[in-house]
Amino acid sequence: MRISARGWSRLVHPAVVIILTAVVIGIPLWLALVTSAKSQGEANLPDLSLPRVWHLWDNYSQAFTQGRMLWALFGSLLVMVPSVAGVLIFGSLASWVLARRAGRVMAVLYSAAISGIILPPAVVTIVLLLRQLHLASTPIGMVLVYMGMYMSLVIFFVTGFVRTIPVEVEEAARMDGARPLGIFIKVVLPLLRPVIATATILICLYIWNDVFYAFFVLGGGTYSTLPLNLYSVASSNLYQNNWNLVFAYVVLMSLPLVVVFVVAQRRIISGITGGAVK
């Protein structure tokens, strides 16, 4: 028997969507949630059953102290906020000039600037450089490294966007005698909002979750980040099979971002696609 088009869209399709969502995303997230509330013995071999005895508070407070979460949260913010602000301000300023001026020099500079989208950062020699500059294991070093890594992405996005803005909008301000910096701040920057939103969301995601570059730059120093501490919590607990603590940390660390997303999902999704797909 053939299913009618109407039946497909009214019954089968929603059922397929719900089952797929529950199995593909629901099961892994459920596993993390229930295991984070179990006792150590029960979490020894993680499964999908509900905890027999709830250890929610114990696990979360232990993960919170053992993973030094407040300090790591502070560290994460300390490197993310200046990196994102710096890369966006410097990147947009340069992009405006790159987009508006023509000529061979600008073309070469633009190519060089966006080559970092493709080329991987030379992570090992970055450490060497930071040691020579006495910036190894410092948040300033980390911020500068992130800015160097994501400058290409910002310049690529923003330059492309500036080219779609007609020059005429700048000219009215110019007639009024505004200087270049004034025109950039008062006229251009507000128009860049969609593309700056895209870049901010993507770069925040990358930096917030980065562990590879943070290992090399911050590793062994005083400062830490949330993913770095997740790694140390997991490394010290997994050989004892303390899955409950690992997942308590995972849930605590993921929850803020997920809540922000669920509240602002429409703006975040349109923000990501707004500047990326034209």
């Binding site: 030379a122 992570v123 899955w243 660390m253 999704i269 696609t273 797909v277």
Partner: protein, 301 residues
Amino acid sequence: MIPSLSAASGRSPRRAVLYPSWFLAPAFAVLAVFFFLPTVFNFIYAFTDWSAFHDDIRPVGLANVKAVMSNGSLLSSLRITIVYAVLVAIMQTGFGLGLALLLERDTRINRFARVVFFIPVLMSALAVGYTFQALLKPDGPLNGLLGALTGQHVTIPWLGSTTWTVVTVAFVNSWKWMGLAMVIFLAGLKTIPADVLEAARIDGAGRWRTFRSIRFPLIAPAVTFNVATALLGSFNGFDTILATTGGGPAQQTEVLNIYIFRVYGNGLFAQATTMSLALLLLVALLAFPVIGYLRKRERVL
């Protein structure tokens, strides 16, 4: 239009006044010192004996290259990195496209499902990796579910096979990122004009024909974007692998970045630099032709 304004060509000094060169300075200073200088260092220190065991750094020629060649780690890491990146690019783009087509219509259930499928994108790849490490244990929940469905005792070593684990790990990474691919495909699908689809329907094109001949070619830019970002991202793959297998079993999921991390941890900085240089050359050699090819297809389709 006023002639004096429209005559302002790109090269005229007027442009340099309106858009001062010093606006470029901060961005390019950061790029030069913290991106390009380390890249130049990469070409120098790969040929030295820089390590944690002595303070002086001396040139040693090709000794590091010979060392990573003779113990087989260079070729094996290169091979695994390429296999992993290609698998991720295929799975992530495929899953993303499938989800976008499934969840395209704006119903309440679809909107909810889109949000749920985006949650893994926000999670740290480490967190995702640990979750799947637990889920995929031989006596873990996934085998338990499969056992309950088939009525047999299932003990598939998802993360313990020297041949197939790289596929599992690539799947986990694609699982994490498929929500982003989905969102980009959804944006691409939205740009297709309704009258084009209507014309195809009147011409009697079925669902598959419409997809193959009209919708797929029109979302070619989204395919390019997704394949390129998946490839580039997984050439740099690290977190997911670290948290699921750590490079094992028997180093069969040890991509270049895992190798760099392990060898650096052992204090062999110069060897890690050599591998970092290998990664740079791999990406430069492969990424540019791949992106060029995808762009050409975009025009042909």
